[in-house]
Amino acid sequence: MSGGNPRGSYHTPADGGPVDGVETRWTRQFDRFQPSRVEPLLYGDTLYVPGLPTLAVDAESGDARRLDVRFRSTPALATETAYRNETLVGLQRAPTGGSPLGSLFPAFGLAGVNPAPGLDRLSDGRRRWTFPERPGSVRPWNPDTPAPPVVADGRVLLGGRWQTDPQTVLGGVAALDPSDGTVEWTYVRQTSPDSPVPFGRPSVHGDTAYVSTVTHTVHAIDTSDGSERWSTDVLDDEGASVAPVVATEDVVVIVEDEEVVGLRRADGSELWRTPLDGFLSSAVRRPVAVTDETTVVTLGSDPPELVALATATGEVQWRVAPERPTSPPVVAGGIVYVGTDEGVTAFDIADGTQRWRFAPDDPVSPFSVPVVGPRGLYVASRETLYALREADG
C-alpha cells in the first residue's frame, strides 16, 4: 500500500536490499509507458505495478501478466477477507453518469478488485465491491493526488471526502469491511453541512489511526469503533494540501510545507517543531520515511536535499544533496533508497553517506518508489521494471 505499511512509514523490515553495491537481476520492459509516481506492491512472490494496465509480475523471474484494472491511487492489499486470494483495494474513476461537469469534477469509487488470472474477458469481471455504490462517489480534495486507502487491523480505512447520495458530501475517515466494502464506521468532520473537512491518508499504529486534514488538524481515531482519542491543531491556517502523518512507537510525525512537527502519540501534545530551511518536493507525493529513530524528508529546493532528523527530538542529523528525487525515501536494513531522475541512489541512514548509485542508460524517468523484498530491490522507470540485488564481491 502507499507508504509500504499501515503506518505509511516507508520503513521496510525486510533486509534484502543491496547495501554495499548493486547489480541487475532482471529487467522487464513495459508494453507502454507507465504513469509517473508509480508505487509497486510486493505480496509474496508477486509484484503488482499499478498502471495502465496494472501488471502482476513474478518477483523471481520477471514474467508479467496484465490486469485490466486502472487505479487512480496506490492500491492496498487485503488478505483477511471472505476470499481465498488477496483483494487489491484502490480508487478508480467512477462513471460520470453523463454529467457535463463530470470531467471538471472527477468522481472516484473505491473498489475491491480480484487480481487472479483469467478474469479480464468479461467487462468488470474483477470488481468484488465498490464504495460508495452508485450514485455515490469519492470526491478527493485534489483529484490528481487522491488519498490512497490503507488496510490495517482487518479494515480498509479511507480518508478524504465522499458522498453516498447526490445531496451530501462528507469529509473524514471511513472504515470498511475489506470483504464487501460495507461501512463499519465513519469519523466525519464538517465545518458546516455543505463544507466537509477533507482528510488525508491515515497512518495506523496498533489500534489507532492518525490522520491530518487540510485545516492542519491531526486526529487520533480508535480503529475499532471510530471514536476520537485526541485531536490537535498543528497550524492555524488552512493549507492547499493535507500534510503526511506517520505514527511511530512514541511520536506522531507531521510533515508540513516548511517544518516537521513531532506530537506525543499518547495524547497529541507537541514534542518538537523543526524548520526545514527549504520546501517539500512537489514531485513526491509523500516525501518522508520514518523509523522509531530517524525521520528522512525529501526537499525540492535547488539543489534538492535529503534531511534526516532524530524522530524523538526533531534534531537535524544530516543533510545531503542527491540527484533530483522522484520518490519518497524508503528505509530498509539501515539504508535509505531514493528513486531519482536517473535511477536509484542508496545512502547510509546513520550519516547520509552514499553507498551506491544505479543509473541505467537512457532511462525514461521519473523512477518509482523503490520496493525492498527478501530477494532484493525493485524499481520502475516509465518503461522498464528493474530487479536489483547486492553486487557479487
Binding site: A82, L119, L122, D124, G125, R127, R128, W129
Partner: protein, 295 residues
C-alpha cells in the same frame, strides 16, 4: 397431488382435454371472449385477476417464496459478500425486469465477480440465499400452473412434477439467465450487441410459455410447444412481458419509493414483488396456455 384435477388426458392426446379446459374456465367464471385473433393482453390480465380472486390459494405458493427470498436478502445484507441494490434508485422507472420464469424478484442483487474466489463457507451462504428461493419458485410455478383451471396438465404425477418439471424449469431459468449475463457483460462486442439483444428478446417472447409447457407437454416438447402456442401472439406476450417487468421494477422498489424516514428495509420490496408478481406471472402462464389453445 395430481397435475390438474380437471384434465384427465394429456394435451397431446386430442380434444377431450380442450373440452375439459374450456368447461373448467366457464365453471370458474372466467371471461370467455376470445376472438379469431386470439386473446388480448387486457383479456388475459382480466382472466388472471378473476382466477386469483376466485382461488386465492393460488397466491399462497409465491407468498411463501417471497418470504423465503426476503429472508435470503436479509442473510445477504448481513454476510461478507457485497450486494447491489436493484431498485428504481439504480435502474430508473422505465427498467423492465425480464423474468424467463416466475422467479424471486430481489431488491438485493449479487454480482458474479463478487462470488469468484470465495471461501467455502461464504460461498455456500450465497448459494443458499440466492438459490433456495429460485428452487422454491420453480416448485411454486409448477404447483400454480398445475392447479390453474384451464391448463391441460394431463395425469402428471407428483413425482413427475417434482422430479422432472421442477429440475427442467430450474435448468431453463439458469440457461436463460446465463444468456442475459453474457450479453450484459459485453458479448458480442460493438453493434452486434444490439442485434443480440433484439434476437434474445424475440426468443424470449417466443419461449415465454416454456415454464407452463414444461408442465403440460414435458421438457422435451416444451420449447416446440411454446413456439407453436406463441405463434401469432407475439405482441400480446410482449405486452405481458413488459407489464410484468415494469411492475416488478416498481414493486421491488417500494422501500426506496416510500419516504426514507419510514426506514422500510429492501427485503420488504422483495417479498412484495415476488408474492404479487410471481403469482400473477405463474397464473398468467396457465391462463395464456389455456386461452391461446382455445383461440
Amino acid at each position: 397431488m395430481s397435475g390438474g384435477r380437471d384434465a384427465r388426458q394429456s394435451e397431446d392426446n386430442g380434444s377431450e382435454s380442450d373440452h375439459d379446459a374450456a368447461s373448467d374456465s366457464r365453471e370458474h367464471g372466467q371471461p370467455h371472449e376470445s376472438t379469431d385473433d386470439g386473446p388480448t393482453v387486457r383479456e388475459l390480465l382480466a382472466a388472471t385477476g378473476t382466477l386469483l380472486r376466485g382461488r386465492p390459494a393460488l397466491a399462497v405458493p409465491f407468498l411463501l417464496v417471497g418470504l423465503l427470498a426476503a429472508a435470503g436478502d436479509l442473510w445477504r445484507l448481513a454476510d461478507s459478500v457485497s450486494t447491489v441494490p436493484q431498485t428504481t434508485a439504480q435502474r430508473g422507472f422505465l427498467h423492465v425486469v425480464l423474468q424467463p420464469t416466475p422467479a424471486p424478484i430481489s431488491a438485493v442483487g449479487t454480482r458474479v465477480p463478487a462470488v469468484v474466489g470465495l471461501r467455502t463457507e461464504p460461498l455456500l451462504g450465497v448459494l443458499a440465499a440466492d438459490g433456495l428461493p429460485v428452487l422454491a419458485a420453480a416448485v411454486a410455478t409448477v404447483v400454480v400452473v398445475a392447479r390453474s383451471p384451464g391448463t391441460p396438465t394431463g395425469d402428471r404425477s407428483l413425482g413427475y412434477l417434482l422430479g422432472v418439471a421442477v429440475p427442467a424449469l430450474v435448468v431453463y431459468q439458469l440457461v436463460t439467465l446465463a444468456a442475459f449475463q453474457v450479453i450484459a457483460r459485453g458479448w458480442p462486442p460493438g453493434l452486434l450487441a444490439y442485434l443480440a439483444i433484439v434476437v434474445l428478446l424475440y426468443v424470449f417472447v417466443r419461449l415465454w410459455l416454456v415454464p407452463a409447457t414444461i408442465v403440460t407437454a414435458g421438457p422435451r416438447a416444451a420449447v416446440g410447444r411454446s413456439l407453436t402456442l406463441t405463434k401469432g401472439h407475439g405482441w400480446a406476450v410482449f405486452g405481458l412481458v413488459l407489464l410484468v417487468g415494469v411492475g416488478a421494477n416498481l414493486l421491488v422498489s417500494v422501500p426506496v419509493l416510500l419516504p426514507s424516514s419510514l426506514g422500510v428495509p429492501l427485503p420488504v420490496g422483495t417479498a412484495l414483488a415476488t408474492a404479487v408478481l410471481g403469482s400473477v406471472h405463474a397464473v398468467l402462464l396457465g391462463v395464456v396456455v389455456g386461452r391461446v389453445r382455445q383461440a
